[in-house]
Structures are given as structure tokens and as C-alpha cells.
């Protein structure tokens, strides 16, 4: 077990290293940073001073070493636009993104599992077919367009919900959050629903497939033969057995929800780190782009690592296969 943990952690660190090289090489080496970082009106002497100050005259590997040394100590450079540490800017906006992503995941889980279960238990009923048709639509709907349509219906036509921003926030342990006030919920409702749609469709399909398979298993037949009530068979025997893959997918998909929040945040002007990334790409604010990519890549690698380790705890077969290989 400990061998597996160590090996898997080393592998995660290697991926992190490779990604840092790729991100650095991509953002700093492709194209000429001098053209972008330095005022085009500057004369030759000013240019050279600026190049030396930014360390752009040094060989690339040395620039990378400086970058990594900074990264390890939490210094990912300063934003050109905001004149503030890039990492600070990202972390400042992270709670908003995490709140949005968590709310979206919650909606997807609370609706997706019951609907999927229903569709799995009665696949040929009208309700079952409708749920499946809805999930195909959920996969096909372009997220940003659904966001616009939500704004059109609920903000413009009905005037029920605000179309952008986070609303007034309440401090919780020093972190500003929206979900503690009614006004905050009104701001959160549409973006969270929008972000949840795709994952909702995924969870419905996953739960339905799992339920249909589980219903054919011997332990379900046995439970029924024992004369257990239908509710107990479904809630205890079926649900518990399909939950392992579902929990794994929820864990893995959380990272992708954070990534997809980029789109939703842009539509609803939600002040999270995804919107910061889009603004930074448009303004060519390279340190912020690099910082965002490093932060999100790290989040991903940590999530993947945790899910893998958790899986090996839940399912002994994974450990055994790894120990042999």
C-alpha cells in the first residue's frame, strides 16, 4: 500500500514538473516576450534596461530555474496589468470559483442520481425515456448559449434574477461567500444551474447504466427473494453498489467543473479565476496566465492523485494489480 502511495505521488510530481516546463516554454518561449512586455514607444536604452530587469537576456534554462524557484516559494511573478503578485490575484478569486463549482456539483448530484435511478428502474416508461432524452439534450446544449438564454428568460423577460456578478457577500472564516444570504442565492442560482447541466446529464446516464446492470445481479435477486421491501432493495443494495463509480466520477469531474467555470463566469460576469484568465489572455498579461495554469494544473493533479488513492482504499483489486505490476 505505502509503495503504491509513494509511487503514485512521485508520478504526480513528475506530471507537475512536465506541465510546468510545457506551460513555461509555451507562454515565455513561443513568440517574443520582449515585444509584449515592453512599451513599443521605448527607445533602445530603455528596452535593454527593461530586458535586463525582467531577466529576459538570460538563457532560457536560467529563466526557467528562476521561475521554478519563485514558484516553489509561491511567487509566480507580478501581473503587468494589476501591478500585483499574480498568485495573489488568482487566490483572491478562487473562493468565488470554488463556490460556483460546488453549487453546480451539488445540483448535479442532488438531481442526477435520483433521476438516473428512476430512469434505470423504469427504462421503458415515459418518464424514463423523457429523462434520457433530456440527458442527450443536456450533452448537446452549448453551455454559454444556455447561459444567455437563462439570462434572457429569468433576467430580461421575467426580471426574477440578477444577470451578473456575485451580489453582496458575507464573510465566512474570512472568506467572502454568497450562499449565506438570500441575495447571494439569487445571484448564484443561474450560473450554478448553467454549470451543472452538463454534469447532470453525465450523472443521469451513469446512474441509469449502473442501476440497470445492478438490477440483473444475483445479490439483488437474492435480496428480493428474502422478501425485502422494494425501497430497501433499491436504496440499500442497488444504490450502495453503484455509488463507488459515481463517487469516483464526481471527484474527477470536480476539476473539470472548475475548468468549465471559465465559460459560465464569462457569461454571468462572475468574479472568479476563470474570468480573470480570459481577461488576462485578452490583455496578454502573461504572469497571470502562467499562474492560473499552474494553479489549475496543480488542482487537477491533486484531485487525480486523491481519487486514485481513495480508489485503492475502496477497491483492493487496484492495490493488488499495482503491487504485482
Amino acid at each position: 500500500m505505502s509503495v503504491y502511495v509513494v509511487r503514485r505521488t512521485l508520478q504526480a510530481l513528475l506530471v507537475l514538473f512536465v506541465m510546468s516546463v510545457l506551460v513555461f516554454a509555451g507562454v515565455y518561449a513561443v513568440g517574443n516576450p520582449v515585444d509584449i512586455l515592453i512599451n513599443p514607444m521605448a527607445d533602445q536604452i530603455e528596452r535593454e534596461q527593461a530586458i535586463a530587469a525582467l531577466g529576459l537576456d538570460k538563457p532560457l534554462w536560467e529563466q526557467y530555474t528562476t521561475f521554478i524557484e519563485g514558484a516553489v516559494t509561491g511567487d509566480l511573478g507580478r501581473s503587468f496589468v494589476h501591478a500585483a503578485p499574480a498568485l495573489g490575484l488568482i487566490l483572491e478569486r478562487m473562493p468565488a470559483t470554488l463556490e460556483l463549482a460546488s453549487a453546480a456539483m451539488l445540483i448535479a448530484v442532488l438531481l442526477g442520481i435520483p433521476l438516473g435511478l428512476w430512469a434505470g428502474l423504469k427504462p421503458h416508461s415515459f418518464a424514463g425515456r423523457s429523462i434520457m432524452a433530456g440527458s442527450i439534450l443536456g450533452f448537446s446544449l452549448p453551455t454559454f448559449w444556455v447561459g444567455l438564454m437563462l439570462i434572457m428568460v429569468f433576467s430580461v423577460m421575467l426580471g426574477w434574477l440578477p444577470s451578473n456578478g456575485r451580489g453582496p457577500t458575507v464573510e465566512l472564516l474570512g472568506v467572502p461567500v454568497s450562499f449565506l444570504s438570500l441575495e447571494g442565492w439569487r445571484h448564484l442560482a443561474m450560473p450554478a444551474t448553467n454549470l451543472a447541466l452538463f454534469k447532470l446529464a453525465l450523472l443521469i446516464r451513469l446512474t441509469r447504466a449502473g442501476t440497470r446492470e445492478a438490477l440483473l445481479q444475483d445479490y439483488v435477486k437474492f435480496a428480493r427473494a428474502k422478501g425485502l421491501s422494494n425501497a430497501r432493495v433499491i436504496l440499500v443494495h442497488v444504490l450502495r453498489n453503484i455509488l463507488i463509480p459515481i463517487v469516483t466520477v464526481i471527484g474527477l469531474e470536480f476539476g473539470s467543473v472548475i475548468a468549465f467555470a471559465i465559460v459560465t463566469e464569462s457569461v454571468f460576469a462572475w468574479p472568479g479565476m476563470g474570468k480573470l484568465l480570459i481577461d488576462s489572455i485578452n490583455l496578454l498579461d502573461r504572469p497571470v496566465i502562467v499562474a492560473y495554469l499552474m494553479v489549475i494544473v496543480t488542482i487537477f493533479i491533486v484531485i487525480n492523485l486523491l481519487v486514485d488513492l481513495l480508489y485503492s482504499v475502496l477497491d483492493p483489486r487496484v492495490r493488488l494489480a499495482e503491487a504485482k505490476g
Binding site: V15, V18, V23, G26, V27, V30, G31, I136, L137, F139, S140, L141, P142, T143, F144, W145, L148, M149, I151, M152, S155, V156, M157, S163, G255, S256, A259, F260, I262, V263, S266, L277, I278, I281, N282, I289, L293, I296, V297, F300, N304
Partner: protein, 301 residues
């Protein structure tokens, strides 16, 4: 599987014919295919069927800007879907936008298919280090969501049609490589490949003439799904202002243009291009769903 008593006619039936016959058995899939055919036809024939050329500035009149659907044109026609902020007929803009969206989707899928196919076949056929290297790259890439990889690449490469296509190809090749490798590993162990090897055929010929055709069914399904995914991703990137340039407005850019007018109730500038995008993606996904069933050997009679 047909037994020894199967009639001769059944034996000479081509796989394409059988697939087609099975495909049209499902009315939903036929609807998807018909819708897709109509969309492709409209996109290809855009210059002929559009009421105006939306990019010929001489045909635009700022006085026509932001007219609601059904408004009359100056010369007695109708703006069926309204006009945008420059007086452009939305219906024509959508036909031309479909052209660009489909072109980007199809081009990136074609390139990704060729690269992914070659990589996947190489991995399966050669095995060893080649396989480990290719599949490790595939695994790592697939553990990140497509939108994130696209944004990294756009941030690195810059913007433009060619770069968007390059980003889509980079994202997609991994799906094909994984699918092809999986199929090829199964096929590789079958007798016909062994027979071909015994005939001392060159590896290139075995891979492309014998392995490849038998790996095609799952690949066709993945490719269909990926065309839809590529179109959706390109639209998203264009909506974020990181995709195609304004000179080539795809559906995503049309939707983005309407964003600012949405809040004042002028819904049609965003609504109709989105509907066209949705119809395209749904029709492709419906076809893919049915193809998955038709091409799945486990479900064959």
C-alpha cells in the same frame, strides 16, 4: 452470424448496406440524419440560398440595424430572423456561419483522425516503448478537460483560424489514438493477422490493409461524436473572443455579438444562431447514438 444455410444474397451483402439498413430502422436516427443533411446542404449552398451576402458591405444598410424577426426589407422582402447591429440579415449570417463552423469541425476532425489513427496503430502494432510513450501522453492529456487544453494552446499559440484548428487537432488526436489502439490490440491477436504475417507481408501493408479496416467501426462512432464536440468547442472559444477572427464569423461569434443586445430584449441576434448550433450538435449526436448501436458487434444479429 449467418449459418451455413444462409442464402447467397445475404453473403454478398456489403457491410455498408447492412449498416445503412440497420441505421434507418430507427426513426429518431433518421430524423437526425435528415436534419444533418439539411444543415450541411444549407451550409454548402449558403451563397445560393441566402437572401443577401452578409459580408458584402454594399448590401448592408445601418438603417436596418437590430430589426426584429419578420421585419420588411427595403426592397419588399422579409428579415425572417431579424437583423444584427450592422443591419445584417440573421438568416444569411447563420447560413454563412454554419459553413465556417462545419468547416472548422470537419477539418480538425480529419487531421486529428489521421494523426490519432497512425499513433494508435503504431502503439498497438509495435508495442514496447513506443506504446508506453504514446499511451502515457494520451492518458495525461485525457485527464485534463478539453476546454483547458484549448485555452492553454490558444494562450500559447495566439488566435486565428489555423491556430484554433491546430488546438482542436491537438485535443482530439488522443481520443482516436486510444480507441484505435484498443481495437487494434484485439484484432492483432486474430488469425487473419497471423496469416498475413506468415505470408511475410510487409508490416505497413498488414497495418493499413488488414488491421485498419477492422478497427474502423468504433473509430467511426468516436469521430462522429468528436465532430460535434469540435464544433461546440470552437463555438465556445469564439464566444470567449479567443476563437475565429471577426472576418470569419462562426456561429459562436454571432452569438457573442448578440450578447450585449440581449439585456435590452433583442434576443434574436443570439437566439437563432444558438438554435442553429444546437440543431447541428443534436443531429450529429443522434446519428452517433444510432451508429454506436449499429456498429457494435455485440448487438449484431
Amino acid at each position: 452470424m449467418s449459418g451455413a444455410e444462409a442464402p447467397v444474397a445475404r453473403a454478398v451483402e456489403s457491410p455498408a448496406k447492412r449498416v445503412f439498413a440497420d441505421f434507418v430502422a430507427n426513426p429518431t436516427a433518421v430524423f437526425g440524419l435528415a436534419l444533418l443533411a439539411l444543415i450541411v446542404l444549407l451550409a454548402v449552398l449558403a451563397p445560393l440560398v441566402s437572401p443577401q451576402n452578409p459580408y458584402d458591405l454594399a448590401q448592408l444598410d445601418v438603417m436596418d440595424a437590430r430589426l426584429p424577426p419578420g421585419s420588411a426589407t427595403a426592397d419588399g422582402g422579409t428579415f425572417w430572423l431579424g437583423t444584427d447591429d450592422q443591419g445584417r440579415d440573421m438568416l444569411s449570417a447563420i447560413f454563412y456561419g454554419l459553413r465556417i463552423s462545419l468547416m472548422v469541425g470537419a477539418t480538425s476532425t480529419a487531421f486529428a483522425l489521421v494523426i490519432g489513427l497512425t499513433m494508435g496503430l503504431c502503439a498497438a502494432y509495435f508495442g514496447g516503448r513506443v506504446e508506453t510513450l504514446i499511451m502515457r501522453v494520451v492518458d495525461i492529456q485525457l485527464s485534463f478537460p478539453a476546454i483547458l487544453i484549448a485555452l492553454i494552446l490558444i494562450a500559447v499559440l495566439g488566435q486565428g483560424t489555423g491556430k484554433v484548428i491546430a488546438a482542436l487537432v491537438t485535443i482530439q488526436w488522443a481520443y482516436y489514438a486510444r480507441t484505435v489502439r484498443g481495437a487494434a490490440l484485439v484484432e492483432k491477436r486474430k488469425e487473419y493477422v497471423e496469416a498475413a504475417r506468415c505470408l511475410a507481408l510487409p508490416p505497413v501493408r498488414i497495418v493499413f490493409r488488414h488491421l485498419l479496416p477492422n478497427c474502423l467501426p468504433p473509430l467511426i462512432v468516436v469521430a462522429t461524436v468528436q465532430v460535434a464536440a469540435a464544433i461546440a468547442l470552437e463555438a465556445t472559444l469564439s464566444f470567449l473572443g479567443l476563437g475565429l477572427p471577426i472576418t470569419e464569423p462562426s456561429l459562436g461569434l454571432l452569438i457573442a455579438n448578440g450578447y450585449q443586445y440581449l439585456l435590452s430584449g433583442k434576443y434574436w441576434i443570439s437566439f437563432f444562431p444558438g438554435l442553429a448550433l444546437l440543431a447541428t450538435i443534436v443531429s450529429i449526436n443522434l446519428c452517433a447514438d444510432q451508429l454506436r448501436d449499429v456498429l457494435n458487434p455485440r448487438l449484431q444479429r
